[in-house]
């Protein structure tokens, strides 16, 4: 499993394959207040990224992978900010 839930932290590790997108999405729906730990994530399949964009959560620990950090993280943060302002 590349998706681990520890208390209020949802952790993505290694390379998250397409199969885990559904699990992830369900967990996100389950736990609206979970925070994300992407520090161990090397790559996420598009479906996983899509799940994170559909149910944005606050990112507690940013990814260390250069591509995810530079190119993907800002979009996830924007999605989270937008979701906040929608609710607020």
């Amino acid at each position: 499993m590349t998706i681990q839930v520890k208390g209020k932290l949802l952790k993505l590790v290694d390379s998250c394959p397409v199969e885990e997108a559904e699990t992830l999405y369900e967990k996100l729906l389950d736990k609206p207040d979970v925070k994300l730990d992407l520090s161990g994530c090397q790559h996420m399949h598009s479906a996983v990224l899509q799940a994170l964009l559909m149910q944005p959560r606050e990112i507690k620990r940013p990814p260390t992978d250069a591509f995810l950090k530079q190119m993907v993280l800002p979009r996830l943060e924007i999605a989270w900010r937008d979701a906040q302002s929608d609710h607020g």
């Binding site: 397409v18 997108a21 559904e22 999405y25 729906l29 790559h43 996420m44 399949h45 598009s46 479906a47 990224l49 899509q50 799940a51 964009l53 559909m54 149910q55 591509f67 190119m71 993907v72 800002p74 979009r75």
Partner: protein
Amino acid sequence: MDKLMAQFIEEGRDLVGSAAQGLLKLEKAPTDPELLDGLFRDVHTLKGSAGVLELNPMVSMVHVGEELLQRAKEGEGTLDAEAIDVLLDCMDLLNVWLDALEGSGQLPPQAATDGDQLAGRLQAVLTREFKVEAAPDTSAAEAGGEGVSWGLFDDAPPADHSNAMAAPVWVAELPENERRELWLSAARADNEPPLWCLEFRPEADCFFRGDDPLFMVRQTPGLSSLAIDLHAVDEDPAAQDVFQCRLWFGLLARQSAPVLDEHFQYEGQTVSRRPLLSEALVQPSGEPLGEPLDAAVLNDLHTFWAQGKTEALLSSLKVQQELLNPATREASLLRWMTDVVTWQPDDALVFDTLLQALQSPSEVLDEAGRIDWLSLAGARSESRENGSTEPTETVAPEPAAATPLPELSPDDPRLGSVLQDQVRLLKQCREPAIRVGAGRSVRTVLDHVARALAVSLPATLARTADADDLEQCLQTWLGQQATSPAAAPKPPVAAPPPAAAPVAALAESAPGLSDERADRGGRESQAPVIRAFKVDQEQVENLGDLVGELVVAKNALPFLAHRAEQVFGERQLGREIREQYNVINRITRALQDAMMEVQMLPVAHVFDRFPRLVRDLSRKLDKPIDLTIDGEDTEAEKHVIESLADPLVHLMRNAIDHGIESRAERQAAGKDEVGKISLQAWQDNEWVVIEVADDGAGIDPEKTRRKAYEKGLLDERRLHEMTEQEAIELIFMPGFSTLETASDLSGRGVGMDVVRTTIEKSGGRLDVDSRLGEGSRFRLWLPLSMSISQVMQIWIDGQRYGIPMDQVAETVRLPRKRLHQFKDRETVMLRDRVLPVSRAREQLGLEPLDDGGTVALLVVRYRGEPVALMVDDFSEGVEVILKPMEGALEQLGVYQGTALLGDGSVLLVLNLAVMLSSVKLEEEVNDHSGER
């Protein structure tokens, strides 16, 4: 050349010519729908064909041109003289490319850059002329002519694709620092690859096909910035299907177009690509301050900028930035201004626009707070073009039609002989099929000349492309007699004026084309294609020798590398020489193979003589013989075939003379009266095998044994030890002849021993298999090729020798004490086998080596049996051309031949068969005398 390519070049020239002509007509009638239709078709066909051949730079450039024409065709705007200029430049470039394709089969190396540049200019025209028309994200698909398909999401565009040429909105929404980085890299360096803006909308079911679009994006070469969006998302989160892809990606990539296209080649129409002007990145971000900046500050900025006081300007900008909240739009504008002043101080348009945005935002910025670079880009691209030094752009744009141009004079010095060349071209192209093209070509040249020299053509040279008219008009105008064919002037010595360079290229391409066509037309009907030709054997041999010498010369490189390393201490150089050596090695190998194939002959060349030989002999000896020949088309190198002839004749004679019994004997043995001899050939790996088999008496081992004993060829002990096979092989012993009376046929002079030695000298071997009363079978093995041999180098007494590699089984170094003396024979125990040891020094009559410690043993195969040859040292293997010994040296049987090494020294290659056979024989004789 590839047939498809040849066809494309021919077709391409016609299309380019026709398009160029269409463009010129279009200048007069810019809205003529027929002209536009024709032009669009030409360009569209060209793009399609270029696409099939994967000429990416051509496709990308033509694509933009096609789009431009499409817009014009649909009445969205008109193509003015300048637009036509750019399009004509495209046609010129296409002609240059077609020439290159014809010459080398490839586009010139700078094609991508040139193409991108022209594509950029076309883009600028598009931006300027067609900016008002909205083209909802269909440009790429539509221009491709394949209809529109954005996959499954036509209902929900995720981002604004308002105009194909405008930078999409998402670009402006990228984080300012990312945009700034990209802009800076473009501003700092001129030779950066172009910046492309890609939109990638994977299909909804792509996950099921195993695609990972994000991975695709991640791997994009030159990826500089990324926007991600979701579309068509359901209201109810629980009803979402996470395996339906709803992602959309916007990418900015700094990379050449072909590389990008290759990366996304399997994504089809889910990806669109368009160039991005670097200005599009210059967008303020953040919320407006809500109040205007201090007028005095703005005034300062204005003044400093106008007076070129860069330092004062920069420090003023810095102060203002410090005063402002960095998150405001004003601060963002100031940051951009700083960058522009620092990196592109001559870009007045961008700076002025930014300053204006600061001063009166409503005039420059739209509702979303963005600068509309589109409306400014036209002016911008113009200023850029004028500053460029690209040669095709030096052709001055045609001035407005209102100012009449001076008429071209036939003795204008700038003309050179361009016009005379045109007349010559027209004279040469008499055939109707090519005359049309020649006419068009001349038409184009004339128009280019007029434009390049900024003159108008005289009325006589009206805008006709008809070759006859043109020829007549040109000749009359140039004062030549239409009937004097010799009037064609020599090509000019002086170079044409630089402005006419593209014209000259065009003019040159046309005669070449016509020649080619004329040739083909003439030949097709008559001569068939020549598929094989006769070459003098000597020429082929010369070529073969040269290839051989190349191999030897190539072998000098490792020596050189070694010297570079050991003598001059240049390890890096040595390594590089070795790398080069590997390349040359690969090519020479291929060359050798090709050369060998050329020199291959079927064994039929030798076999063909045997039916006659058998017939003659059988009549003479009154032995009816049935000869069957098989595999006569087996091929081997010419030298091999030649070396085969004599031994084979001997074997055949032996079979007839000694093998097949007389009529009476056969009857007595209950055999068919007619004797059978079969001659077969086949290839076995690197060997040609020839088999001569008879159903005669076979060899009687008892008889050979006795004979050998009687002749003193072997002693009593050996006589009894000998196996049957060994006894049979006694026939190969020198001085052995079993038949009481030698017939005049097989004779006494040449025995089987000579046959075997001859074959072994050629690097082959001869086996015999015989059954008493049933017949004998001789198998002759020869290498396919003799020209190049692999030899292993060994050292004996400070001298280097070679041993054919195929006879070497292994090399070992052992302590001297592992050698055992067994009676008078030296042996060594190697992997549970006792091998006889032969000392090379002894064989060559040299002093024995006395170095105590270890011995170097070369395990060689001698007639199928391993023998350990003691040498001083081993060295590496090498490819050589073995030259047989000549003259007096030929008598030294111990040498197979000589070879020239890469370092220039001569290598003596040992003949193991001779060397080791003499050993045994000698031993046996010693043995014999010892016992007596």
